[in-house]
């Protein structure tokens, strides 16, 4: 291994060096339906509510990317929301399958859904929070240059739950929850070196893999 490769490998190890603990739980509430028919798709939506509560769009996009594949095509959330505007907005989105049934009773909405059939709605609800932090680091810049000195750490927790609805049966298929905690470190001797814990990415992959297992058991 030459010197350049060694440096690259070292940098990669350092970048991944934060640690994450992840637990994932799955609750299957009804047997999964048949495989998706041609043209059917899945939509991953972030749970929002009237007011200011919003599940982070970046996380739901990550889960959607994780699910998307030839056996499980995913319709982008924005496309779905635009197509059914204003019935999946924060102040109008169905909160449970009874709300969904009422929504589907409207012939205009039902007809619009049938034009681009969505078989499963995946509602993702949750957040990533900074739970703790410590250490100290100082940086200074002078005529001769600059640099940092110190050590800082911080901890994040990502807790999300996904609820899966079968639109054709207007029934809840199951739920998957994930809880991931990770601690990142940043020592600094002239140059800060981030040792990041990929907490949200771990939660996303855990949730996405379990959802895929729920929706495509043979995958």
């Amino acid at each position: 291994m030459n010197r350049r490769s060694s440096c690259t490998a070292l940098a990669t190890v350092l970048w991944l060096a934060g640690c994450v603990n992840t637990s994932v739980e799955q609750l299957r509430q009804s047997p999964p339906g048949a495989a998706l028919s041609t043209g059917e798709s899945v939509v991953v939506l972030g749970r929002s509510q009237q007011g200011e509560y919003r599940t982070e769009g970046g996380f739901t996009q990550c889960v959607a990317d994780r699910l998307d594949g030839p056996d499980l095509p995913v319709t982008p959330a924005q496309t779905f929301n635009d197509r059914l505007f204003p019935w999946f907005e924060p102040r109008t989105a169905p909160q449970n399958v009874d709300d969904l049934r009422r929504l589907l009773d409207d012939p205009l909405i039902s007809q619009r859904l049938q034009q681009n059939p969505v078989r499963y709605l995946v509602w993702v609800d949750g957040t990533t929070r900074d739970t703790d932090s410590g250490g100290s680091m100082g940086c200074a810049v002078g005529p001769g240059g600059g640099g940092c000195l110190g050590f800082a750490w911080w901890e994040k927790n990502a807790a999300f739950e996904a609820s899966v609805w079968d639109v054709t049966r207007a029934a809840e298929v199951g739920r998957v929850s994930v809880d991931a905690s990770g601690t990142s470190y940043m020592p600094a001797v002239i140059v800060p070196v981030p040792l990041l814990a990929r907490t949200e990415a771990a939660a996303c992959s855990g949730l996405g893999d379990q959802l895929r297992e729920l929706l495509v058991p043979d995958s």
Binding site: E52, E56, D82, R83, F85, E89, R91, G182, T199, C204
Partner: protein, 212 residues
């Protein structure tokens, strides 16, 4: 019906797939801050981009009363100069166009020749960014008072609209993030307007009685 399709992909993927460190982010923001120091107030022009609502069109001749003061409304603070009046007017008009067959915009509350007048007035508009709220979001709150007048100019109903939108901040794209927060608030305002007018119609309330 006069709706337009919203820009695709308005919800942009952000940090999923990579962790964001508080200290690392602070360092990058500090560097960016040094680069842009002294820029002053930035003009922002949000756009009224609404999808075509999935609602049944109703009959009736509707007027949307927009005053010059309403149309010229701006939000100005130390960071932003945001034109709000025109995109809000366009949002209200497109929403009414989807709901009613005959919609006109007027600058008076003269009821002659119409069955219902929708009269929105500004109550408040607030914009907040990460620097103020200590969050990772730009946020917009748009508050209106909406009055409905019948064909004789008498008030038949009145309700508030409290619209909210937010978008994640971007290291070198704050203008777009602020505009996007306002555009999401406009979308929320349109949703509220549709719900109010549709519920009144479904309930057979006074609004429907004002229509032919």
């Amino acid at each position: 019906m006069n709706g337009t399709v919203a820009r695709p992909g308005a919800y942009r993927p952000t940090d999923a797939g990579r962790s964001r460190s508080g200290a690392g982010r602070l360092f990058l923001v500090a560097v960016a801050g040094l680069l842009v120091t002294g820029c002053g107030t930035t003009p922002v022009a949000p756009e009224a981009t609404l999808p075509v609502p999935v609602v049944a069109e109703q009959g009736g001749r509707i007027a949307l009363a927009i005053t010059a003061e309403f149309r010229q409304r701006r939000h100005t603070d130390d960071d932003w100069d945001i034109g709000l009046g025109e995109p809000v007017e366009a949002t209200f008009q497109r929403t009414l166009d989807a709901l009613y067959r005959d919609v006109r915009v007027t600058d008076t509350q003269d009821a002659s020749g119409v069955d219902l007048i929708v009269v929105p007035t500004w109550e408040d508009a607030q914009i907040s960014g990460p620097g103020r709220s200590h969050t990772e979001f730009h946020e917009a709150w748009l508050h209106f008072d909406v009055r409905l007048l019948d064909g004789e100019g008498a008030q038949v109903d009145r309700w508030p609209i409290r619209a909210y939108g937010r978008s994640r901040d971007r290291l070198l794209g704050d203008n777009e993030a602020v505009a996007e927060a306002v555009e999401r608030a406009l979308r929320d305002a349109a949703t509220a307007l549709i719900l109010k007018l549709r519920r009144q119609s479904i309930a057979g309330g006074r609004t429907e009685e004002a229509l032919p």
